[in-house]
Symmetry: C3
Subunit: 658 residues, 3 copies
């Protein structure tokens, strides 16, 4: 595979549309009609089964395949393909009653109980066996079914704070994990610096999870616990994936990741997946997010213009294949946010096209019909509870009708790489050192600045192949390996590094020589002190803008390229590397990023907050997230439109060949 | 009893005044003096005994009746009558030590411990037996005592979150309750929709309380738990009431309900009571309530002008007799709110007269003398701790002196019925679907709109006889029975229905045909989608005002009678039924309610926020809740004053014959 | 010792400077260099050992003295003296595993676990024995070492909410404590008023800690629990102090108290200490404190101008000797506040001089070098992690160089005594009666008013000798002993009493005759009612200012000397006693205090918020807490400067002989 070119699923193939369906929740008499209507709406894929364990195995060891056989047959008969979910996110009550040790435990060691979902501990050996058993049975039954094109493992790993479990099983597994990592307890003591506060251990059996301590536990202890907990998710997923691969050859294995969730290492889970799926709920995430009230009002029914894009770009980089699916797409109001408005007309179509523009091969709406019962009875579907079309149905039909008009070339990678590390998120979550430092917000802010300049971005692991990128951006990577430091130092790309980069060793220690050695002579500066600042404190910067939340004091053998008004350096540039020693205000961040982009020789636009562009395979798309029209040609060089119109209406999509 | 006319206690009899007294807390030498002073102040009734278990039965099985005999004798000798409380809200320590299973448990299953009050689980068989035993003993001793005119069961059921207990006993009782309700586990599975998230049960013994689940439990599960928990309160009260009726013939049984509390079904408890009592603390409730800061400052020392009225009107409808008592009336600053100001001079008199105007037969102040010890040592009494008169004493004397001047006819019911259902509150609490939806605030807002128009209101159960009302208002009734739907459809009254009405089945499911069928052709609309909106988002409405918090999308075979500026319908009117498809801003709500009131042919005033009117038996009362005088005749047609003056001073009361 | 004169440590001796050092955290090869650099910086004292148990006794009963011997020898060789810490704040894991009963328990009775620090219960007999054992071993080894000049017991008693433990051991000890206090259970029942809510006990064995109750426990029960918990700290410290005194003759025993912490009675602990130490972190405390956002921004990098002074003045009064040490002084950004800015240049020098001006004999910086690992890796030291000088190093050198220039006479006590009682804090914390009443903020506000007038203040226990003071201020003392009342009534000083003074008996009961009897005819008023007011409610006072948060209604045989605009009395003055019946706004408080100061015949200045003065032994110091210069002579009568300049620069210090 030539450098600079990767296959993104879909290629020249048009976008596939799908839907999440729960035949077990509806009278069998209606299945065939549902399937026909799905097909007529332009859907071709149906995700089923992921919460159906109590119907598949209604009592221990007795499987009831009949209904599922018939459901799949009905869908198949209508020309639909099936993504089958393993039902392990919801073990049935009889299983929990027989094996209470499968329940996860909270930080106090109390079991979290049956009655909702995700009531299992990733470290429970019992549950690993039971998961193997049910997945094996499903795969044995449907693994080679011609309509089954893919499998989804479990559902939304980590939802409802379930990555970490403080169970006895997890405690035992954590000790074993530590022993594998360190071999010798003295190595652990050294790595963690347990000499601090007399915390030394005399053996691995003495180490507990970092829970219920009198005050905060050792940060290295906490980081290893996060790593361990993530590894337990990876291992759980890998078992299911292996069973599926063995019994269902040629089918894809996917999982549906969540938005704004960093509880486990998605890159690591992604290594066992053929496609990274995710669940896109732009409105709910806006409501619960960090945006100010004015932004939340402005994009109330659209979501933040960079939210979906960020996750497409992030998850596309999470599997070796770079294949991306939206396994759940919000089609209307949901049930779970603090406030649940309806999407602006057009947004379901917009989100769908945007997913495609960012490389998605499938967009599957959640869900077919609003359920009349259960915890999600207020979650809209494509159909209303009375089976009439909901507002999204027409938008899905529109996408289905117009998708043939937009043909793309196999994709070229984006010119910009943004380095994202889950471990970095954990480090910064464990030790924010200031309430204003929210790790994911910081990364997202840098991504938004790039997107506002009209750039396409690949969000990639620090371990990714970075050859060919023109600009490499690392908003904040506390731990930088020697290999990465060497790569960046030697790169022909412009490299823009954010605060706290290279500020920790892999053992969560301060590098004794301070950050500089990570980059050696490539960036002859050292951070000598950091400050976190409360809301409302802004240190003004020469020219415009300022620094808030976080400010580093830097000593350099070079002169800073941008200074605070008080003379202190903020941006330090040496050859092609730049370091930003603080948290710039949004306007200043754009200014800093723009300079780096221009040095990289990339064309720069200046898009209004609600307008976003994305290119895929020779076609450029424009998306209007505002509730008012935007004059497209005022902001970009627009060609002959394959789709849409100029001005671009509220919630509108346009596309043209570049 | 003729339709349209009900006996309200008191009739032509003047208002009775009482006080809560704790002889066990004071030296016996002072009892007689206290009793004489009570009588001299105009009090005729004394509530005693409800926290005295440890003095009545100082050790297991040994009763010490002497002090209570003498206390009652002392009160009787002074011409006072007695309401005797059963002491079950405070089981003594020796009982808890002997039977730890009487303690209630929190949602984690941990016992809530001795050291304050209400430390018992309604489902504890042990405690039911112990309650029977102590109530039986008390009734045996005093059931036929001539001075004992009534009993109060327990004290403030549910206070301090004690309706729900997650104890082993409650778990067992819940399962039995479910089995009685559903008989067959499949019926439960169907009703709850447990197929969702694989939640199916194979037997009643597998069902737990909806506690400590990983995320929210099934809403039908939660609703049944609330119903069950309420039923346990009802059953506990019924046992005590039965023992009292058997042993204390002719005496009234009452309980003292709390303000702004919907944790159990007061209509159901009320069926076992002769009079509904409640505890009126207007200042504390304002401080902790939902009003904005400006309103809280405006009515700091008066309380919200509709607070006491709302509860009078609500609790009057909670017993078959419609008899109403205020068993505790705030006489000064209290101890338990976040801030505890003193009442404006005049307010204690105002609250007393207002209770009477709303049908109360008794107002009993809490308490006689401020206690020098214990948790409520900062709760004012009529007397100061040093036994001097507190500020309220003079106001009580004033009421006592002037009450003979106001004679009323037997009451006629109000022209307006507001339908209030505890179950509706639970449904909306369990599933607000938006943080802005606070169920009780919504009802109270509609009540306030009616009161601002000068109307008298009966707050009644949806099961009440609605014949004769001119206007029936249901601010929000998610579950509407077929019978109620038929009654409303056939009613000659104008019917005004608020949002979410008829949006759920009794099993907490969406009616598959959507709301319309509940009213059939009587209201040919269907709600097709709902939105909850964050603070600050207001959708403007034609003319004036807007919709905030909640907005429904409606399809109708009729035209809306009021639209949003964007054209969507907000009020849907068909013959005499109207449906309001959102949460109007307060000004818009008044406009909508006023139109319905005018259609009903009722006279309408436009009262300022601090002025309230109430009629009883041919006399109209006016109450000035402002801290400044109000020109009464500018707002109402005032006759010759039996009481008060015009302008009405701050905290003033006026009355005239209509 | 003549009245009015006390020996304050230091006398004519110059200020000693020290540092906290952890040899066990650094390679032994670097110790000698560290020691030389300390000495070169002007430091003479090193605090070591307080978290080193796991290195001193790496396994049960096996002591490793070698490293500590060598560390002390290395320090000694460089001319440094040692303060040795007992390592009991961090029992090692092997000890916790062998004796889990040493863990403290939370209010639910759950153990708080190993993994940070302070994981022990003061009531654990096991831990008392283990503490004795390790302290005895340390003292045996180093008690007579010539370099060891002092001992620090444990570290920051009570940090992380560890005064109270709800363990089985604490429960047993509490019962025994109660039995000693009351002897007879009836005495306890009477004292607590347990007749309220049927709370009577039949024996001491029935009494539990006031935890996990359904609603608040009896306030007397809670107060005794606080007293008991404090006594457990006192007893724990006393055991260690006794062992040290026996084995290390002539050495001082100190403890490092914390800022803004009132969890135990520091006066009582102080009786077993030779010097009161404390840990001064002005920036962290500002961030977490009650100041408004503007004040927090103004003093972001300086801390509140009265914070350090308040604690110097408070802790100086906590030992019989009145000796004061700063055992930890912030030298840069810390790790533990919500936001962690760096000190303004000059502040480390300012804080050091200010400590000296307030009587400190030692300022010891925390810590020598920033640690690269552990929970405090983001806590700055005098050295950076790379061993280069941090910004504070130069300021320490500056103090060391200039200290000889400032010679003082033995100190005279301040003219103003502010009465401070830990028990008063507990009473007011247990029963604030209004959310706005924050006990420590109230005291601090009165202290600030005095300091803004340029006065020196001694903060003393109500039991202290008050002879010789010109003004005695008691911001709020709910419990006033007869002896104190008599002292104040007979005092020749002006006495200014704040609200709630004398409002409770020692048993947390209302004095039945109301406050007046405490002072008898000396102050013929009685408080008849109190109000707590929400934020934003201000009752205006004649002239200027107002009352907020708290307002008392007073009856007096005298006329008030200051009234609210509505005529109610606020300040009541009788001869030399004054009583303030509310919480004045800050401007009004200054006005009230100023009048009392003037009556006392003391000179009064009017300092801007950032300028503070302090005299010691004939020298007056000025401190500029602003980030801008202040014209010193505009505010005070400045003599020839021994130190500093006028205008005084930001963060500057000046001194002159008076």
């Amino acid at each position: 595979m030539a450098a600079g070119v990767k296959t993104v699923e879909g290629g020249l193939a048009p976008l596939r549309l799908g839907v999440c369906y729960y035949p077990e929740q509806w009278p069998e008499a209606g299945w065939a009609g549902d399937a026909r209507r799905m097909r007529a709406m332009g859907l071709s894929v149906v995700r089923i089964g992921e919460f159906a364990w109590s119907r598949i195995e209604p009592e221990p060891g007795r499987f009831d395949w009949g209904w599922l056989d018939r459901a799949i047959a009905t869908l198949t008969a209508a020309g639909l393909q099936v993504i089958l979910g393993t039902p392990t996110a919801t073990p049935p009550k009889w299983l929990v009653d027989a094996h209470p040790d499968i329940l996860p435990c909270d930080a106090q060691g109390q079991p979290r109980r049956f009655g909702s979902r995700r009531h299992y501990c990733f470290s429970s050996d019992t549950y690993r066996r039971e998961s193997d058993r049910i997945v094996t049975a499903l795969v044995a039954r449907y693994g080679e079914h011609p309509a089954v094109i893919a499998w989804q493992t479990d559902n939304e790993y980590g939802c409802h704070d379930t990555v970490e479990s403080f169970s006895p099983a997890a405690t035992v597994a954590f000790r074993a994990w530590l022993e594998r990592r360190y071999r010798d307890i003295d190595a652990l003591n050294t790595a963690w610096g347990t000499v601090f506060w007399s915390g030394e251990y005399r053996g691995f059996a003495a180490v507990d999870p970092p829970a219920a301590t009198v005050t905060e536990a050792n940060p290295a202890h906490r980081l290893d616990w996060r790593r361990f907990s993530s590894d337990q998710v990876v291992a759980f997923n890998a078992r299911a994936a292996a069973i599926i691969r063995a019994g269902s050859p040629g089918r894809d294995v996917a999982h549906n990741f969540m938005g704004f969730f960093t509880g486990f290492d998605h890159h690591a889970v992604g290594r066992d997946l053929d496609a990274a799926g995710w669940d896109s709920y732009p409105l709910g995430f806006l409501d619960g997010g960090w945006d100010d009230a004015a932004t939340k009002r402005r994009f109330l029914r659209q979501g933040h213009p960079d939210f979906a894009a960020f996750h497409h770009d992030l998850y596309r980089g999470c599997t070796p294949s770079q294949r991306l699916w939206v396994l759940e797409q919000q089609p209307g109001p949901v049930n779970w946010a603090a406030h649940n408005p309806a999407p602006l007309p057009g947004m379901v179509r917009l989100w769908t096209w945007e997913a495609w523009a960012h490389g998605a091969g499938l967009v599957s709406y959640f869900r077919w019909r609003q359920a009349p019962f259960g915890q999600e009875q207020m979650h809209a579907g494509l159909l209303r509870p009375d089976s009439e079309d909901g507002p999204a149905a027409a938008e899905v039909r529109a996408v289905a009708a117009e998708r043939a008009a937009v043909q793309v070339e196999p994709a070229v990678r984006a010119p910009v790489a943004l380095l994202f590390s889950y471990e970095a998120q954990w480090v910064l979550d464990i030790q924010p050192q200031g309430r204003g430092w929210r790790a994911l917000e910081q990364v997202f802010g840098w991504y938004t600045a790039l997107r506002g300049l009209g750039l396409d971005v690949d969000i990639v692991s620090p371990d990714a192949d970075l050859l060919g990128y023109r600009l490499i951006v690392a908003p904040s990577l506390p731990v930088v390996s020697e290999a990465l430091a060497a790569t960046l130092a030697a790169s022909e790309a412009v490299v823009l590094l954010g605060p706290r980069t290279a500020s920790r060793t892999a053992d969560f220690q301060l590098p004794l020589g301070l950050p500089r050695p990570a980059f050696g002579d490539a960036l002859p500066i050292r951070v000598t002190r950091v400050e976190s600042l409360p809301r409302g404190v802004v240190e003004p910067v020469e020219g415009s803008g300022g620094v808030e939340r976080w400010l580093e004091q830097v000593e350099g053998e070079i002169e800073p390229s941008l200074r605070l008004e008080n003379g202190a350096g903020l941006v330090w540039r040496h050859r092609r590397l730049r370091y930003v020693a603080g948290w710039p205000t949004p306007d200043l961040l754009v200014r800093i990023v723009r300079e780096a982009v221009e040095e990289a020789g990339l064309a720069v636009l200046s898009l209004p907050p609600g307008l976003r562009l994305r290119s895929r395979g020779g076609v450029r798309f424009a998306f209007n997230y505002e509730a008012t029209p935007i004059a497209l040609s005022a902001h970009a060089d627009v060609g002959e439109l394959l789709l849409g119109s100029d001005p671009l209406p509220a919630g509108g999509v346009a596309a043209w060949r570049t």
